[in-house]
Protein backbone atom coordinates (compact mmCIF):
# COMPACT_ATOMS: atom_id res chain seq x y z
CA UNK A 1 0.00 0.00 0.00
CA UNK A 2 2.77 2.39 0.95
CA UNK A 3 4.81 1.74 -2.17
CA UNK A 4 1.67 1.75 -4.20
CA UNK A 5 0.62 5.17 -2.91
CA UNK A 6 4.07 6.60 -3.57
CA UNK A 7 4.19 5.13 -7.06
CA UNK A 8 0.74 6.46 -7.85
CA UNK A 9 1.80 9.93 -6.70
CA UNK A 10 4.95 9.85 -8.81
CA UNK A 11 3.05 8.65 -11.86
CA UNK A 12 0.57 11.49 -11.46
CA UNK A 13 3.42 13.99 -11.24
CA UNK A 14 5.02 12.61 -14.39
CA UNK A 15 1.71 12.75 -16.25
CA UNK A 16 1.23 16.36 -15.23
CA UNK A 17 4.74 17.36 -16.34
CA UNK A 18 4.23 15.60 -19.66
CA UNK A 19 0.89 17.41 -20.15
CA UNK A 20 2.62 20.74 -19.60
CA UNK A 21 5.48 19.83 -21.90
CA UNK A 22 3.30 18.53 -24.69
CA UNK A 23 1.50 21.85 -25.12
CA UNK A 24 4.67 23.70 -26.11
CA UNK A 25 5.51 23.51 -29.83
CA UNK A 26 9.23 24.38 -29.75
CA UNK A 27 10.27 21.89 -27.05
CA UNK A 28 8.19 19.24 -28.79
CA UNK A 29 10.09 19.98 -32.03
CA UNK A 30 13.29 19.64 -30.00
CA UNK A 31 12.14 16.31 -28.62
CA UNK A 32 11.38 15.06 -32.14
CA UNK A 33 14.86 16.10 -33.33
CA UNK A 34 16.54 14.45 -30.36
CA UNK A 35 14.56 11.22 -30.75
CA UNK A 36 15.37 11.25 -34.47
CA UNK A 37 19.06 11.74 -33.69
CA UNK A 38 19.12 8.93 -31.13
CA UNK A 39 17.26 6.60 -33.51
CA UNK A 40 19.71 7.44 -36.28
CA UNK A 41 22.63 6.69 -33.96
CA UNK A 42 21.18 3.44 -32.58
CA UNK A 43 19.28 1.95 -35.53
CA UNK A 44 21.00 3.71 -38.43
CA UNK A 45 24.21 1.62 -38.41
CA UNK A 46 22.09 -1.57 -38.52
CA UNK A 47 20.21 -0.41 -41.62
CA UNK A 48 22.84 1.31 -43.73
CA UNK A 49 25.72 -0.46 -45.36
CA UNK A 50 29.37 -0.59 -44.34
CA UNK A 51 30.64 2.99 -43.95
CA UNK A 52 34.06 1.88 -45.12
CA UNK A 53 32.84 0.14 -48.31
CA UNK A 54 34.20 1.95 -51.32
CA UNK A 55 32.39 2.38 -54.63
CA UNK A 56 35.19 3.31 -57.03
CA UNK A 57 32.71 3.89 -59.82
CA UNK A 58 31.08 6.69 -57.89
CA UNK A 59 33.57 8.90 -56.11
CA UNK A 60 32.32 12.35 -55.14
CA UNK A 61 28.93 11.39 -56.58
CA UNK A 62 26.00 13.71 -55.88
CA UNK A 63 22.95 12.36 -54.03
CA UNK A 64 21.16 9.64 -56.00
CA UNK A 65 18.84 6.69 -55.27
CA UNK A 66 21.91 4.46 -54.83
CA UNK A 67 23.67 6.91 -52.52
CA UNK A 68 21.03 9.02 -50.79
CA UNK A 69 23.51 11.61 -49.61
CA UNK A 70 26.13 11.09 -52.27
CA UNK A 71 29.63 9.68 -51.82
CA UNK A 72 32.98 11.05 -50.73
CA UNK A 73 36.37 11.13 -52.41
CA UNK A 74 36.92 7.42 -51.78
CA UNK A 75 33.44 6.51 -53.00
CA UNK A 76 32.13 5.78 -49.50
CA UNK A 77 28.38 6.23 -48.96
CA UNK A 78 27.81 9.55 -47.11
CA UNK A 79 24.54 8.39 -45.54
CA UNK A 80 26.21 5.32 -44.04
CA UNK A 81 28.95 7.53 -42.68
CA UNK A 82 26.45 10.05 -41.29
CA UNK A 83 24.60 7.25 -39.46
CA UNK A 84 27.80 5.82 -38.00
CA UNK A 85 28.98 9.34 -37.25
CA UNK A 86 25.77 9.90 -35.28
CA UNK A 87 26.74 6.97 -33.10
CA UNK A 88 30.14 8.53 -32.43
CA UNK A 89 28.55 11.90 -31.71
CA UNK A 90 25.98 10.39 -29.36
CA UNK A 91 28.68 8.45 -27.51
CA UNK A 92 30.90 11.48 -27.19
CA UNK A 93 27.98 13.71 -26.12
CA UNK A 94 26.33 11.36 -23.64
CA UNK A 95 29.40 9.67 -22.19
CA UNK A 96 31.33 12.88 -21.60
CA UNK A 97 28.26 14.51 -20.01
CA UNK A 98 27.73 11.45 -17.80
CA UNK A 99 31.37 11.59 -16.80
CA UNK A 100 31.13 15.27 -15.93
CA UNK A 101 27.93 14.68 -13.92
CA UNK A 102 29.28 11.60 -12.16
CA UNK A 103 32.34 13.46 -10.95
CA UNK A 104 30.96 16.99 -10.70
CA UNK A 105 27.71 16.41 -8.82
CA UNK A 106 29.29 14.73 -5.77
CA UNK A 107 31.94 17.45 -5.58
CA UNK A 108 29.32 20.18 -5.89
CA UNK A 109 27.10 18.52 -3.28
CA UNK A 110 29.85 18.16 -0.73
CA UNK A 111 31.33 21.62 -1.33
CA UNK A 112 27.94 23.33 -1.16
CA UNK A 113 26.62 21.36 1.79
CA UNK A 114 29.64 21.57 4.07
CA UNK A 115 31.14 24.89 2.96
CA UNK A 116 33.98 25.26 5.51
CA UNK A 117 37.42 24.96 3.87
CA UNK A 118 36.46 22.70 0.97
CA UNK A 119 34.09 25.10 -0.72
CA UNK A 120 36.49 28.01 -1.30
CA UNK A 121 39.23 25.65 -2.53
CA UNK A 122 36.93 23.90 -5.00
CA UNK A 123 35.38 27.13 -6.18
CA UNK A 124 38.72 28.84 -6.83
CA UNK A 125 39.80 25.85 -8.94
CA UNK A 126 36.49 26.01 -10.80
CA UNK A 127 36.90 29.74 -11.41
CA UNK A 128 40.40 29.22 -12.78
CA UNK A 129 39.30 26.51 -15.21
CA UNK A 130 36.20 28.47 -16.22
CA UNK A 131 38.51 31.28 -17.27
CA UNK A 132 39.51 29.14 -20.28
CA UNK A 133 36.96 28.95 -23.05
CA UNK A 134 35.38 25.50 -23.12
CA UNK A 135 36.83 24.46 -26.49
CA UNK A 136 40.31 25.76 -25.74
CA UNK A 137 40.29 23.79 -22.53
CA UNK A 138 39.01 20.66 -24.32
CA UNK A 139 41.59 21.02 -27.10
CA UNK A 140 44.36 21.31 -24.55
CA UNK A 141 43.18 18.25 -22.65
CA UNK A 142 42.71 16.22 -25.84
CA UNK A 143 46.22 17.10 -26.94
CA UNK A 144 47.55 15.74 -23.66
CA UNK A 145 45.39 12.61 -23.56
CA UNK A 146 45.90 11.69 -27.22
CA UNK A 147 43.53 11.30 -30.15
CA UNK A 148 40.85 8.58 -29.83
CA UNK A 149 37.16 8.38 -28.94
CA UNK A 150 38.13 7.61 -25.35
CA UNK A 151 40.36 10.67 -25.36
CA UNK A 152 37.51 12.80 -26.68
CA UNK A 153 35.16 11.60 -23.98
CA UNK A 154 37.71 12.23 -21.23
CA UNK A 155 38.71 15.65 -22.57
CA UNK A 156 35.12 16.83 -23.04
CA UNK A 157 34.04 15.33 -19.74
CA UNK A 158 36.69 17.18 -17.78
CA UNK A 159 36.12 20.35 -19.74
CA UNK A 160 32.43 20.21 -18.68
CA UNK A 161 33.27 19.51 -15.05
CA UNK A 162 33.64 23.08 -13.72
CA UNK A 163 30.21 24.11 -14.99
CA UNK A 164 28.56 21.07 -13.41
CA UNK A 165 30.26 21.67 -10.07
CA UNK A 166 29.24 25.31 -10.08
CA UNK A 167 25.59 24.66 -10.92
CA UNK A 168 25.31 21.86 -8.37
CA UNK A 169 26.90 23.93 -5.64
CA UNK A 170 24.67 26.92 -6.38
CA UNK A 171 21.55 24.79 -6.12
CA UNK A 172 22.77 23.11 -2.95
CA UNK A 173 23.34 26.49 -1.32
CA UNK A 174 19.72 27.42 -2.02
CA UNK A 175 18.21 24.07 -1.07
CA UNK A 176 20.08 23.64 2.21
CA UNK A 177 18.40 26.78 3.55
CA UNK A 178 14.93 25.34 3.00
CA UNK A 179 12.90 24.52 6.07
CA UNK A 180 12.43 20.93 4.99
CA UNK A 181 16.16 20.39 5.40
CA UNK A 182 15.94 21.88 8.89
CA UNK A 183 13.00 19.57 9.53
CA UNK A 184 15.10 16.59 8.49
CA UNK A 185 17.84 17.67 10.90
CA UNK A 186 15.19 18.00 13.59
CA UNK A 187 14.15 14.43 12.78
CA UNK A 188 17.68 13.32 13.52
CA UNK A 189 18.56 12.49 9.93
CA UNK A 190 22.25 12.01 9.13
CA UNK A 191 24.12 14.12 6.58
CA UNK A 192 24.30 11.34 3.99
CA UNK A 193 20.57 10.83 4.15
CA UNK A 194 19.88 14.56 3.95
CA UNK A 195 22.19 15.02 0.97
CA UNK A 196 20.83 12.06 -0.98
CA UNK A 197 17.14 12.25 -0.14
CA UNK A 198 16.55 15.96 0.44
CA UNK A 199 19.23 18.00 -1.28
CA UNK A 200 20.07 16.03 -4.43
CA UNK A 201 16.49 15.38 -5.63
CA UNK A 202 15.68 19.07 -5.25
CA UNK A 203 18.74 20.04 -7.30
CA UNK A 204 17.83 17.59 -10.04
CA UNK A 205 15.80 19.87 -12.30
CA UNK A 206 18.53 22.39 -13.16
CA UNK A 207 21.00 19.52 -13.55
CA UNK A 208 18.74 17.81 -16.06
CA UNK A 209 18.49 21.09 -17.94
CA UNK A 210 22.27 21.44 -17.73
CA UNK A 211 22.66 17.99 -19.26
CA UNK A 212 20.56 18.97 -22.26
CA UNK A 213 22.89 21.93 -22.77
CA UNK A 214 26.04 19.91 -22.13
CA UNK A 215 25.29 17.13 -24.61
CA UNK A 216 25.09 19.39 -27.70
CA UNK A 217 28.13 21.31 -26.52
CA UNK A 218 29.99 18.02 -26.34
CA UNK A 219 28.69 17.03 -29.78
CA UNK A 220 30.14 20.22 -31.23
CA UNK A 221 33.25 19.62 -29.15
CA UNK A 222 33.69 16.13 -30.58
CA UNK A 223 33.28 17.43 -34.13
CA UNK A 224 35.73 20.21 -33.49
CA UNK A 225 38.35 17.93 -31.95
CA UNK A 226 37.94 15.41 -34.75
CA UNK A 227 38.05 18.18 -37.35
CA UNK A 228 41.33 19.32 -35.85
CA UNK A 229 42.65 15.76 -35.85
CA UNK A 230 42.66 15.60 -32.04
CA UNK A 231 39.63 13.37 -31.78
CA UNK A 232 38.30 10.33 -33.58
CA UNK A 233 40.78 9.20 -36.23
CA UNK A 234 39.94 8.29 -39.82
CA UNK A 235 38.73 5.95 -41.15
CA UNK A 236 36.24 5.85 -38.24
CA UNK A 237 33.36 8.02 -39.45
CA UNK A 238 32.68 11.09 -37.35
CA UNK A 239 30.88 14.23 -38.40
CA UNK A 240 33.98 16.21 -37.63
CA UNK A 241 36.21 13.90 -39.65
CA UNK A 242 33.74 14.12 -42.53
CA UNK A 243 33.94 17.90 -42.42
CA UNK A 244 37.73 17.77 -42.59
CA UNK A 245 37.56 15.72 -45.77
CA UNK A 246 34.73 17.80 -47.22
CA UNK A 247 36.79 20.93 -46.83
CA UNK A 248 38.98 19.94 -49.77
CA UNK A 249 36.06 19.33 -52.11
CA UNK A 250 33.87 22.24 -51.08
CA UNK A 251 33.32 23.47 -54.66
CA UNK A 252 33.07 20.05 -56.35
CA UNK A 253 30.99 18.21 -53.77
CA UNK A 254 29.37 20.73 -51.42
CA UNK A 255 26.92 18.08 -50.10
CA UNK A 256 29.82 16.43 -48.31
CA UNK A 257 30.06 19.48 -46.06
CA UNK A 258 26.35 20.21 -45.98
CA UNK A 259 25.22 16.86 -44.50
CA UNK A 260 27.48 16.66 -41.47
CA UNK A 261 27.11 20.39 -40.90
CA UNK A 262 23.33 20.13 -41.05
CA UNK A 263 23.32 17.11 -38.73
CA UNK A 264 25.46 18.90 -36.15
CA UNK A 265 23.18 21.92 -36.33
CA UNK A 266 19.97 19.86 -36.04
CA UNK A 267 21.20 17.68 -33.18
CA UNK A 268 22.41 20.74 -31.27
CA UNK A 269 19.20 22.64 -31.95
CA UNK A 270 17.14 19.67 -30.84
CA UNK A 271 18.87 19.36 -27.47
CA UNK A 272 18.73 23.08 -26.87
CA UNK A 273 15.01 23.35 -27.62
CA UNK A 274 14.38 20.34 -25.41
CA UNK A 275 16.43 21.93 -22.63
CA UNK A 276 14.48 25.18 -22.84
CA UNK A 277 11.24 23.25 -22.60
CA UNK A 278 12.44 21.20 -19.64
CA UNK A 279 13.56 24.35 -17.89
CA UNK A 280 10.08 25.84 -18.19
CA UNK A 281 8.32 22.66 -17.14
CA UNK A 282 10.63 21.64 -14.29
CA UNK A 283 11.19 25.07 -12.78
CA UNK A 284 9.04 25.09 -9.66
CA UNK A 285 8.93 28.88 -9.75
CA UNK A 286 7.09 28.89 -13.08
CA UNK A 287 3.98 27.46 -11.40
CA UNK A 288 2.86 23.87 -11.50
Amino acid sequence: MTEHAVAAGRAARRRRLWRRFRRRPMPMAGLVLVVGFVLLALAGPLVVGDPAAQDYLATLAPPSPAHLMGTDDLGRDAFARIAHGAQVSLQAGVLSTLLAMAVGIPIGLVAGFYRRWLDPVVMRLVDVTLAFPFLVFAVGLAAIIGPSLKGVVLALGFAQLPAVIRITRGEVLAVREMDYVAAAVADGAGDGHIILRYVLPNCASPLIVQATVAIPTAIIGESTLSFLGLGVQPPTPSWGVMLTTAQQYLSDAPWLAIWPGLMIALATLGFNLLGDGLRDVLDPRSGR
Binding site: A5, A183, A186
Partner: protein, 322 residues
Protein backbone atom coordinates in the same frame (compact mmCIF):
# COMPACT_ATOMS: atom_id res chain seq x y z
CA UNK B 1 10.35 21.45 33.69
CA UNK B 2 10.51 20.07 30.18
CA UNK B 3 12.67 22.95 28.97
CA UNK B 4 14.97 25.25 30.87
CA UNK B 5 17.00 27.87 29.04
CA UNK B 6 19.57 29.71 31.07
CA UNK B 7 21.33 32.84 29.86
CA UNK B 8 21.26 31.78 26.21
CA UNK B 9 23.47 33.78 23.84
CA UNK B 10 23.60 33.36 20.09
CA UNK B 11 25.67 35.68 17.94
CA UNK B 12 25.82 35.42 14.15
CA UNK B 13 29.05 37.23 13.47
CA UNK B 14 28.32 40.80 14.56
CA UNK B 15 24.61 40.24 14.98
CA UNK B 16 23.62 39.63 18.58
CA UNK B 17 20.43 37.73 17.81
CA UNK B 18 19.91 36.36 21.31
CA UNK B 19 21.76 38.06 24.11
CA UNK B 20 21.25 36.47 27.50
CA UNK B 21 17.82 34.91 27.59
CA UNK B 22 16.37 32.62 30.21
CA UNK B 23 13.03 30.88 30.22
CA UNK B 24 11.33 27.72 31.41
CA UNK B 25 8.48 25.64 30.11
CA UNK B 26 6.63 23.25 32.40
CA UNK B 27 5.25 19.87 31.29
CA UNK B 28 2.12 20.35 29.22
CA UNK B 29 2.52 24.12 29.17
CA UNK B 30 2.21 26.37 26.12
CA UNK B 31 4.58 29.32 26.29
CA UNK B 32 3.98 32.09 23.79
CA UNK B 33 7.25 33.80 22.86
CA UNK B 34 6.27 37.14 21.36
CA UNK B 35 8.48 39.58 19.54
CA UNK B 36 8.77 41.64 16.40
CA UNK B 37 11.14 41.05 13.50
CA UNK B 38 14.76 41.11 14.61
CA UNK B 39 13.91 40.33 18.23
CA UNK B 40 15.69 36.96 17.99
CA UNK B 41 12.62 34.86 18.77
CA UNK B 42 13.17 32.40 15.90
CA UNK B 43 16.81 31.98 16.87
CA UNK B 44 15.70 30.82 20.31
CA UNK B 45 13.64 28.06 18.67
CA UNK B 46 16.54 27.00 16.48
CA UNK B 47 18.88 26.84 19.47
CA UNK B 48 16.42 24.75 21.47
CA UNK B 49 16.27 22.19 18.67
CA UNK B 50 20.01 22.51 18.17
CA UNK B 51 19.51 23.43 14.53
CA UNK B 52 22.13 26.05 15.29
CA UNK B 53 24.80 26.00 17.96
CA UNK B 54 24.37 28.42 20.86
CA UNK B 55 27.25 30.80 21.51
CA UNK B 56 26.84 30.55 25.29
CA UNK B 57 24.38 29.55 27.96
CA UNK B 58 22.67 26.26 28.69
CA UNK B 59 19.61 24.48 27.35
CA UNK B 60 18.15 21.62 29.37
CA UNK B 61 15.60 19.22 27.97
CA UNK B 62 13.80 17.33 30.71
CA UNK B 63 16.67 18.01 33.09
CA UNK B 64 19.41 16.98 30.69
CA UNK B 65 21.92 19.54 29.41
CA UNK B 66 21.81 19.35 25.62
CA UNK B 67 23.73 22.55 24.88
CA UNK B 68 26.90 20.89 23.69
CA UNK B 69 25.77 17.42 22.68
CA UNK B 70 27.15 16.23 19.34
CA UNK B 71 24.77 15.70 16.46
CA UNK B 72 25.02 11.98 16.99
CA UNK B 73 24.30 12.24 20.68
CA UNK B 74 21.34 14.51 19.91
CA UNK B 75 19.73 11.96 17.59
CA UNK B 76 17.89 9.80 20.14
CA UNK B 77 16.69 12.96 21.93
CA UNK B 78 15.03 14.18 18.76
CA UNK B 79 12.20 11.78 19.41
CA UNK B 80 11.19 14.04 22.25
CA UNK B 81 11.06 17.33 20.43
CA UNK B 82 10.11 18.59 17.04
CA UNK B 83 9.35 21.74 15.12
CA UNK B 84 6.53 23.27 13.11
CA UNK B 85 7.69 25.87 10.61
CA UNK B 86 6.17 29.10 9.39
CA UNK B 87 6.35 28.69 5.64
CA UNK B 88 4.02 25.95 4.46
CA UNK B 89 5.73 26.05 1.06
CA UNK B 90 9.36 25.46 1.99
CA UNK B 91 8.92 23.21 5.02
CA UNK B 92 7.88 20.05 3.16
CA UNK B 93 10.25 18.21 0.81
CA UNK B 94 8.63 18.72 -2.61
CA UNK B 95 9.93 15.35 -3.83
CA UNK B 96 8.25 13.32 -1.09
CA UNK B 97 4.65 12.22 -0.89
CA UNK B 98 2.69 13.19 2.22
CA UNK B 99 3.02 9.65 3.54
CA UNK B 100 6.80 9.75 3.15
CA UNK B 101 7.00 13.13 4.86
CA UNK B 102 4.88 12.15 7.83
CA UNK B 103 6.31 8.63 8.08
CA UNK B 104 9.96 9.69 7.89
CA UNK B 105 10.43 10.26 11.66
CA UNK B 106 8.98 6.79 12.40
CA UNK B 107 11.47 5.09 10.12
CA UNK B 108 14.30 7.28 11.30
CA UNK B 109 13.81 6.30 14.92
CA UNK B 110 12.88 2.73 13.97
CA UNK B 111 9.69 2.75 15.98
CA UNK B 112 7.67 1.05 13.25
CA UNK B 113 8.21 -1.23 10.28
CA UNK B 114 6.91 -0.29 6.83
CA UNK B 115 3.46 -1.69 7.51
CA UNK B 116 3.25 -0.05 10.89
CA UNK B 117 4.32 3.26 9.36
CA UNK B 118 1.44 3.16 6.93
CA UNK B 119 -1.06 2.56 9.71
CA UNK B 120 0.32 5.20 12.01
CA UNK B 121 0.52 7.76 9.21
CA UNK B 122 -3.14 7.13 8.42
CA UNK B 123 -4.08 7.56 12.05
CA UNK B 124 -2.03 10.74 12.36
CA UNK B 125 -3.47 12.26 9.18
CA UNK B 126 -6.93 11.60 10.50
CA UNK B 127 -5.99 13.33 13.74
CA UNK B 128 -4.93 16.48 11.90
CA UNK B 129 -8.05 16.39 9.76
CA UNK B 130 -6.66 15.21 6.42
CA UNK B 131 -8.42 12.60 4.30
CA UNK B 132 -6.54 9.29 3.79
CA UNK B 133 -6.20 9.82 0.03
CA UNK B 134 -3.89 12.77 0.77
CA UNK B 135 -1.16 10.20 1.51
CA UNK B 136 -0.16 9.80 -2.10
CA UNK B 137 -0.24 13.53 -2.88
CA UNK B 138 2.78 15.80 -3.18
CA UNK B 139 3.04 19.01 -1.11
CA UNK B 140 2.39 21.36 -4.02
CA UNK B 141 -0.98 19.74 -4.63
CA UNK B 142 -2.14 20.90 -1.18
CA UNK B 143 -3.41 24.26 0.01
CA UNK B 144 -1.43 26.27 2.57
CA UNK B 145 -3.70 25.15 5.41
CA UNK B 146 -3.43 21.49 4.42
CA UNK B 147 0.34 21.74 4.28
CA UNK B 148 0.44 23.19 7.77
CA UNK B 149 -1.63 20.20 8.92
CA UNK B 150 0.95 17.92 7.30
CA UNK B 151 3.69 19.84 9.12
CA UNK B 152 1.83 19.27 12.39
CA UNK B 153 1.39 15.58 11.62
CA UNK B 154 5.11 15.18 10.96
CA UNK B 155 6.03 17.05 14.15
CA UNK B 156 3.64 15.07 16.32
CA UNK B 157 3.83 11.53 14.94
CA UNK B 158 6.50 10.49 17.46
CA UNK B 159 4.42 12.02 20.28
CA UNK B 160 7.19 14.40 21.33
CA UNK B 161 7.29 16.00 24.74
CA UNK B 162 8.14 19.43 23.34
CA UNK B 163 7.03 21.12 20.14
CA UNK B 164 8.62 24.33 18.91
CA UNK B 165 6.17 26.13 16.64
CA UNK B 166 7.69 29.08 14.78
CA UNK B 167 4.90 31.34 13.47
CA UNK B 168 2.92 28.31 12.29
CA UNK B 169 -0.19 30.28 11.31
CA UNK B 170 1.28 33.61 10.17
CA UNK B 171 1.26 32.73 6.48
CA UNK B 172 -2.37 31.59 6.53
CA UNK B 173 -5.60 33.42 5.79
CA UNK B 174 -7.79 34.22 8.78
CA UNK B 175 -10.35 31.49 8.16
CA UNK B 176 -7.66 28.85 7.63
CA UNK B 177 -5.70 30.19 10.59
CA UNK B 178 -8.74 29.71 12.80
CA UNK B 179 -9.05 26.03 11.94
CA UNK B 180 -5.31 25.38 12.38
CA UNK B 181 -5.33 27.17 15.75
CA UNK B 182 -8.30 25.09 16.88
CA UNK B 183 -6.46 21.98 15.72
CA UNK B 184 -3.30 22.89 17.65
CA UNK B 185 -5.39 23.49 20.77
CA UNK B 186 -7.15 20.14 20.41
CA UNK B 187 -3.95 18.22 19.73
CA UNK B 188 -2.20 19.87 22.63
CA UNK B 189 -5.04 18.92 24.96
CA UNK B 190 -5.20 15.32 23.69
CA UNK B 191 -1.48 14.62 23.47
CA UNK B 192 -0.32 16.86 26.30
CA UNK B 193 2.89 18.07 24.69
CA UNK B 194 4.61 21.24 25.88
CA UNK B 195 4.92 23.96 23.31
CA UNK B 196 7.19 26.90 22.63
CA UNK B 197 4.92 28.95 20.41
CA UNK B 198 6.88 31.70 18.64
CA UNK B 199 4.88 34.52 17.08
CA UNK B 200 4.64 38.23 16.42
CA UNK B 201 0.88 38.16 16.86
CA UNK B 202 -0.37 38.82 20.37
CA UNK B 203 -3.93 37.80 19.53
CA UNK B 204 -2.73 34.31 18.59
CA UNK B 205 -0.94 33.72 21.90
CA UNK B 206 -3.85 35.23 23.77
CA UNK B 207 -5.91 32.46 22.22
CA UNK B 208 -3.70 29.49 22.98
CA UNK B 209 -0.81 30.20 25.34
CA UNK B 210 -0.73 29.58 29.08
CA UNK B 211 2.17 31.88 29.69
CA UNK B 212 3.71 34.64 27.60
CA UNK B 213 7.26 35.96 27.28
CA UNK B 214 7.86 39.18 25.36
CA UNK B 215 11.20 39.61 23.59
CA UNK B 216 12.92 42.78 22.47
CA UNK B 217 16.35 42.82 20.79
CA UNK B 218 17.52 39.44 22.04
CA UNK B 219 16.23 39.69 25.59
CA UNK B 220 13.04 38.97 27.46
CA UNK B 221 11.50 42.20 28.76
CA UNK B 222 8.48 40.71 30.46
CA UNK B 223 6.92 37.34 31.11
CA UNK B 224 3.98 36.02 33.03
CA UNK B 225 0.66 34.21 32.94
CA UNK B 226 -1.41 35.15 29.91
CA UNK B 227 -4.24 36.76 31.82
CA UNK B 228 -1.75 38.88 33.79
CA UNK B 229 0.08 40.09 30.70
CA UNK B 230 -3.07 41.12 28.92
CA UNK B 231 -4.82 42.61 31.91
CA UNK B 232 -1.84 44.42 33.40
CA UNK B 233 1.13 44.65 31.07
CA UNK B 234 4.03 46.15 33.00
CA UNK B 235 6.81 46.82 30.53
CA UNK B 236 6.31 49.88 28.31
CA UNK B 237 7.16 47.78 25.25
CA UNK B 238 4.47 45.22 26.03
CA UNK B 239 2.05 48.06 26.59
CA UNK B 240 2.97 49.57 23.22
CA UNK B 241 2.58 46.21 21.47
CA UNK B 242 -0.83 45.69 22.97
CA UNK B 243 -1.96 49.17 22.11
CA UNK B 244 -0.64 49.07 18.55
CA UNK B 245 -2.45 45.91 17.40
CA UNK B 246 -5.69 47.20 15.93
CA UNK B 247 -8.90 45.56 17.12
CA UNK B 248 -11.57 44.63 14.60
CA UNK B 249 -14.14 47.01 16.00
CA UNK B 250 -14.14 50.51 14.53
CA UNK B 251 -15.89 52.13 17.45
CA UNK B 252 -13.53 50.75 20.04
CA UNK B 253 -10.44 50.98 17.81
CA UNK B 254 -10.96 54.69 17.14
CA UNK B 255 -11.36 55.51 20.80
CA UNK B 256 -8.32 53.60 21.98
CA UNK B 257 -5.36 55.52 23.27
CA UNK B 258 -2.38 54.31 21.34
CA UNK B 259 1.19 54.50 22.51
CA UNK B 260 3.21 55.73 19.57
CA UNK B 261 6.78 54.52 19.71
CA UNK B 262 9.49 56.88 18.60
CA UNK B 263 12.31 56.00 16.21
CA UNK B 264 13.10 52.70 14.56
CA UNK B 265 14.02 49.36 16.02
CA UNK B 266 17.78 49.62 16.62
CA UNK B 267 20.09 47.18 14.89
CA UNK B 268 20.95 44.01 16.82
CA UNK B 269 24.53 44.55 15.63
CA UNK B 270 24.88 47.50 17.95
CA UNK B 271 22.11 47.41 20.57
CA UNK B 272 21.58 50.57 22.65
CA UNK B 273 23.34 50.93 25.98
CA UNK B 274 21.41 50.56 29.19
CA UNK B 275 17.85 49.45 28.59
CA UNK B 276 17.66 48.32 24.98
CA UNK B 277 14.24 49.83 24.62
CA UNK B 278 15.19 53.32 25.77
CA UNK B 279 15.59 54.75 22.25
CA UNK B 280 11.89 54.13 21.57
CA UNK B 281 10.44 54.28 25.05
CA UNK B 282 8.09 57.18 25.75
CA UNK B 283 8.92 56.96 29.46
CA UNK B 284 12.70 56.68 29.30
CA UNK B 285 14.76 58.69 31.76
CA UNK B 286 18.46 59.03 32.59
CA UNK B 287 19.02 55.68 34.27
CA UNK B 288 17.52 53.87 31.24
CA UNK B 289 20.33 55.13 29.02
CA UNK B 290 23.13 53.89 31.21
CA UNK B 291 22.00 50.96 33.36
CA UNK B 292 20.48 47.79 32.08
CA UNK B 293 17.39 46.90 34.11
CA UNK B 294 17.31 43.27 35.30
CA UNK B 295 14.25 41.08 34.85
CA UNK B 296 12.73 41.32 38.32
CA UNK B 297 9.59 39.89 39.77
CA UNK B 298 8.85 42.81 42.09
CA UNK B 299 5.45 41.53 43.19
CA UNK B 300 6.64 37.92 43.42
CA UNK B 301 3.66 36.81 41.38
CA UNK B 302 5.51 35.11 38.53
CA UNK B 303 5.23 38.22 36.38
CA UNK B 304 8.71 39.71 36.07
CA UNK B 305 9.59 42.67 33.88
CA UNK B 306 12.85 44.41 33.02
CA UNK B 307 12.21 48.10 33.55
CA UNK B 308 13.68 50.70 35.89
CA UNK B 309 10.28 52.28 36.37
CA UNK B 310 8.94 49.05 37.79
CA UNK B 311 11.77 48.58 40.24
CA UNK B 312 11.26 52.21 41.20
CA UNK B 313 7.50 51.50 41.30
CA UNK B 314 6.79 54.45 39.04
CA UNK B 315 5.13 52.82 36.08
CA UNK B 316 1.58 53.87 35.32
CA UNK B 317 -1.06 51.22 35.25
CA UNK B 318 -1.59 50.39 31.62
CA UNK B 319 -4.69 48.25 31.62
CA UNK B 320 -6.58 51.08 29.94
CA UNK B 321 -4.71 50.59 26.67
CA UNK B 322 -6.61 47.49 25.66
Amino acid sequence: MILRIDNLVKHYGQVRAVDGLSLEIAHGEVLGLVGESGSGKSTVGKCVLRLTDPTAGTIELAGRDITRLSRRAMRPLRRDMHMVFQDPFSSLNPRFTIEQIVGEPLLRHKVADRRGVSERVSAMLEKVGLRPEMRSRFPHELSGGQRQRVGLARALILEPKLVVADEPVSALDVSVQASVLNLITDLQRDMGFSCLFITHDLSVVEFLADRIAVMYLGKIVESGPKAEIFAAPRHPYTQALLSAAPVADPVRQRERRRIVLGADVPSPVDPPSGCRFHTRCPLAYDACRTDEPPLTDTRSNGHPAACHLITADRIPDAAAHR
